[in-house]
Symmetry: C2
Subunit: 364 residues, 2 copies
């Protein structure tokens, strides 16, 4: 158990946005909300999963919807609290702690803000080790844990309590409700036991986020190269350096979908990189070769500061370094690849681990 | 209090389909479900609203969605029972009785089938005195009664419990969920007290349905004219006689929308009638004049048998009599017209009571 103060929040926000691989919400809003919550309610208690009793009720809190919309509809905190209250009343059990469902600038921070507000601890675990666009795309799903009962709440005061036959139906109905609610909503989902999160979650994700964020901060302070610091912490690979030459993004069926194009600079001059996304970056390829594909992580970093750029934040002309990082081993199983691999998103490529692709790159 | 047996069910089904003004679901399926439920569980108890205690919990049961889809997805009865169980558990109170929310071939019968299955009485009251396409279009809404908590259940086993800030949001979110569930769902909605239904409902709607159904049946038996019998019972007006020359129907945003065109026969020869609908018939007009408009009732009857034809059942070449009937006085108030009048549905005409329009027709 330890306490999270302002510096920790600042670092986690940066690392979370990086592991959010372009999605997971706007890091600036998320950070502000968490800092404000600390200001108002005091420091946040972070628990290691091992410190949670096996029978405790743990409920992740998150924002659902297209990041494009989230930017315009910052949550007030009341929706998330309402969702928790509603779920507690339905389950007839008190919620012991919350946790993030994914890594992401907003979705790693919202549970912190909610925890401060409700006086609950946060558990250092999530269900992705990155961000993904759909509700069933969590390691809990791979282990057969139900996403429901879940509660969807909007900023107007509407709430929806869903019980579904499987998590794909949860995603479908919750997405439809969220779109109708204006494109984003706050959700309380995957109510689990302490035992569940220890077995099926990805532990110490906030710790990793904090380390990455701190590495970027210290690199600036000591005039070191932030990119190489990030690559060390995240065990990643530099995939490409380039300038944004085109960004094609639209919000459809509740997602931000599109492709960002980069013209190579430095040793990548003459090459063109395309990064395809659905809320999150999912595929990075040049004309010649595949560089990284989901479920491995693709992050777009500012070439100078090393700070992560979301799909919403990509601007024409920006100089970026694109890096790839191996996903958690849980995603590299048969059901993992089926759930979040390239085929699921409609990309006609086979999944190859980023470290294999990186080797090929070297030998090409 | 009285018991409903097979003959009553047969008559109610016909009358309900007629007052369903083209919508409210397929009368054949509804009738079969109610008859089968009686076969299995025995006769159904029908209560007059005055027999219901003021503090009793009354919950209408209905099918939501486009009738086109309902035809292909007949409910099993399990969904409706699941929705009731879910709502009882949420409210922590036993449901005393059910009731129809609207008149309609399916939606007048489903509460009867559910009542038989659950051993509950049915109250002789509804919230429309006809059928309307949207959830807030009930007399309860005019009196400020909340549609939620409501439960939406599908045939796969998914359920959604909604709590909304107003009934227009109920309609929006429930419609989105219903579309995602495949276009139709079973709902338990507008949980009310006995006092509420007495004050805000339309009493003795099943009695009227039964009288209309019986009149049509007896007319056939005694070789009388079924149309004039119906007009007497429903205090209606003959608007037109014609052959269906065109039917344009599509399912969009969860509704069956379209227009049926009739070429006049007999004294209407040379005239063309258009009947516009959104699940229900909403507007009947010729080139020259408006004949009847929502919230007044427009029914299309088979010219020979007097049996009502739903918007789904209208076939090219069919010889029909189109009749108009005055709606319940509750709909003729300011808020009533605002909620279900022609402007709400996008028709650029003022509401004029059908009896006024019928007079004009005579003097024209």
């Amino acid at each position: 158990m330890r306490k999270l103060g302002k510096q920790e929040i600042e670092d986690i926000a940066v690392g979370a946005a990086l592991l959010g691989t372009g999605g997971g919400g706007d890091p600036y809003i998320g950070k502000l909300m968490a800092l404000q919550a600390i200001e108002e309610y005091g420091e946040i208690t972070l628990l290691d999963p091992d410190e949670v009793p096996d029978d405790a009720l743990i409920v992740p809190s998150a924002m659902m919807g297209a990041p494009t919309v989230m930017l315009e509809k910052a949550p007030s905190g009341e929706e998330a609290a309402a969702a928790f209250k509603n779920l507690e009343s339905y389950l007839g059990q008190e919620i012991y702690a919350t946790m993030p469902i994914e890594a992401g600038g907003l979705n790693s921070m919202l549970p912190l803000a909610l925890a401060a507000k409700l006086g609950l601890p946060v558990v250092d675990v999530d269900g992705m080790g990155r961000a993904f666009p759909e509700l069933q795309m969590v390691t809990f799903y791979l282990d057969g844990i139900s996403a429901t009962p879940m509660v969807i709440a909007d900023e107007k005061g509407n709430t929806t309590l869903l019980s579904t036959i499987n998590n794909v139906w949860t995603e479908r109905i919750a997405r439809a409700a969220t779109i109708e609610m204006g494109g984003s909503s706050m959700i309380a989902i995957y109510p689990m036991t302490g035992k569940d999160i220890k077995k099926s979650g990805i532990s110490n994700i906030l710790k990793l986020e904090e380390e990455i964020g701190r590495a970027i901060r210290l690199a600036k302070e000591y005039n070191a190269d932030p990119i190489s610091e990030v690559l060390k912490k995240a065990k990643g690979f530099e995939l490409f350096r380039g300038k944004v030459s085109d960004i094609n993004r639209k919000t459809e069926t509740g997602f931000a979908r599109g492709v960002a194009t980069f013209e190579g600079i430095n040793e990548y001059k003459g090459e063109t990189l395309e990064v395809r996304f659905q809320n999150e970056h999912l595929l990075a390829q040049t004309d010649q070769r595949l560089l990284c594909v989901t479920p491995d992580l693709i992050a777009v970093l500012d070439a100078e500061t090393g700070l992560p750029i979301t799909t919403e934040g990509i601007r024409y002309g920006a100089r970026c370094v694109i890096i790839g990082m191996p996903c958690h081993p849980k995603w590299r199983t048969g059901k993992g690849i089926e759930t979040v691999g390239p085929k699921y998103f409609g990309y006609d490529v086979e999944y190859v681990p980023v470290e294999e692709l990186a080797k090929k790159g070297v030998t090409a």
